[in-house]
Symmetry: C4
Subunit: 216 residues, 4 copies
């Protein structure tokens, strides 16, 4: 259906890819709220019932933060891209697959958080989904770097920094997946920390990070 | 994942932020309809059953009006912005977090409206969510003002008016949250009034409000 | 929150309004599929169970066709608009309110189609929602015409035709709402006919309709 | 509502059509995750319960891959189009109707996969929906070719290749619908193969496929 010149190196404009991706990111992040159940039959003490389902809110926050961070990463990456090739479109679909699947483990975790055995499975499935999202984003960026899709005027130092930035997410998820088998709730807080670290990076001492870039 | 130059002042184009935000606003406002339950087993008198669930429609209207007003405020703010920085992207995510959470308290209110005790909790949670949405929007605007992100050609008087405009929402929500503890339904009508006030502002006598602006 | 100069005639760019509206139209039209229930416990004869819920598909088609037609009408109207004012934004919100409410009566109809009494109520609610959607679209267009928001280069004849086009929908819905009180299913087929008439207009003998327009 | 000059050949800009379509594609692809049920009451062995519902994941993958491929095909087609006519808008609505219906048979399949009789019906309904999606996309492209909507600078060879590309999907679905009546699960894997074939085309020996195209 979609190909034109499989052997050649056809270039595609990015506008549709960006609009479609923005749509998927926006929907996935907004659907998360459907995973928070309204407590039923809690006329007696609704406040208590709401507080007791705090793990639902935690899962909501983690997934929201992660999708937000991945969306921001995606939007930074596409700023570097002059035009896309078919592989970029395919890798992008894999990333969207991982992102749009996230509401499922989020619901799974909310459902089984109170069972000490099942929550380990749920936290692992959740962590693996987050990890794969990170891998897909890193693969997308690596492809942009290696295939000469980046714009000619993009700064070498800037691109190196973005590459460095993509590592901690991968490492963080790998560690917390292992931790989650023994302490599932700790792992979920860990996933939250990774998402926040991606969004609010610590100041770096490295001078190259202070480069001023004139504009997008 | 997302940062490039943490120490520097990297600027980002706004198009992706606008597209993503429009998506989240549009989805949150459209998901609200799922919170209105089709009355079941009302073959006898469907009309009566539909009328009796009027609080669901009220909640729908309030949330719809609020998201619509916040979206309009957001679209006016971004018209002033030349380019975004990382903090703008983060504050925007916080705003979207508050907006996309709204379907939950809307459902909560619809569920517990007929219980005189629980409805107080539900109305409070709802009011706090609306209040936080307003706070996040005001914070976004304040950041644009203070960080020099506004366009050079934007009119000082216009910007002062927008600042003034953001106050009533905050005050209104604070008052009605307090009212809602005693008269929950009154508070919900109050929230509707705040949303309408944001969308259909009263004519002001202040001469500066009559300034004609040539274009967007 | 959103206003800037209530007394003045501030103009707003249309890009955000279009993106937000496209999002709401797209979500409302896609959510409709959730109103079609998967028949449960029909292992014996799934084919028969699927055929028997044909009113669900009919409702789906009617709502899909109507939203599609209204979206097309909206996109034609905004092609005429140079820049928006606050009233345009408010009327647009009212239109989106009517459109995004449609999944509710669609579900209602599917639920009560087999009860000869309740289906009359459901068909009426449905028809009123469709009628209000049409009214809101006509009001939007009238405002564009009267407030001088139309582009200077837009063709007078073209605009008159668009005005003419908006009438049949209004009349059709009014008629079929009345019919629906006695023959609800006939009315639903009537709503389908109105939607199709909006999308596939009959050739008109009027010579002015054969005007060739060079481009959008 | 929507027409302007039924007899004439009015041209419409494509931006709204693209934005609306991107929205529908994005929502349909993201709603699929709601069709995967969280296993309930599986505290004993959540891992096993998750593995046992593998057909849900398979259906998710097939529908995700198909919508992704159709979206990519759609975005390639609109790159060729200079401006749309009314028929293009109507055919596009038919395509979106088929795409946005897909979550229903996906759910149907997940529900009835374990019943050897009902799964045949479900697989057939699913296949027919996929087939119609392919037909609508092919019809859209054929209309672009025949009605002179393609851009003047578009390469004849490229267009012929796109035409060739649209055949295998149609043939593949026709074959697997027949197969599915006897071996439903085999057919679902077949549908996955068709989607992957559309996204990752085999290298062709035909020299014209190696044409290099300078840009989008």
């Amino acid at each position: 259906v979609s190909a034109i010149t499989p052997g050649g190196r056809r270039r595609y404009r990015l506008s549709r890819l960006e609009a479609f991706s923005d749509g998927v990111f926006a929907i996935a992040i907004t659907l998360l709220v459907l995973d928070i159940a309204v407590p039923s039959g809690s006329e007696e003490n609704l406040g208590k019932a709401l507080v007791e389902q705090w793990p639902s809110y935690l899962g909501y926050l983690v997934s929201f933060g992660t999708i937000g961070a991945v969306w921001f990463g995606h939007s930074v990456i596409t700023e570097f891209v002059a035009a896309g090739d078919r592989t970029l479109f395919r890798l992008n679909l894999v990333l969207l697959l991982a992102v749009s699947f996230l509401p499922f483990p989020t619901r799974l975790l909310a459902e089984y958080v109170s069972d000490s055995e099942a929550v380990r499975v749920a936290a692992t499935v959740y962590g693996v989904n987050l990890f794969l999202t990170s891998v897909a984003l890193a693969a997308l960026w690596r492809h942009v770097e290696r295939s000469g899709l980046a714009r000619d005027d993009s700064d070498e130092a800037e691109r190196r920094i973005l590459t460095t930035r993509l590592q901690p997410g991968l490492a963080g998820y790998a560690i917390f997946i292992a931790v989650g088998w023994f302490f599932p709730i700790v792992a979920v807080f860990g996933y939250l920390a990774v998402a926040l670290a991606m969004l609010v990076p610590a100041r770096r001492r490295n001078p190259e990070s202070r480069i001023q870039s004139a504009g997008g």
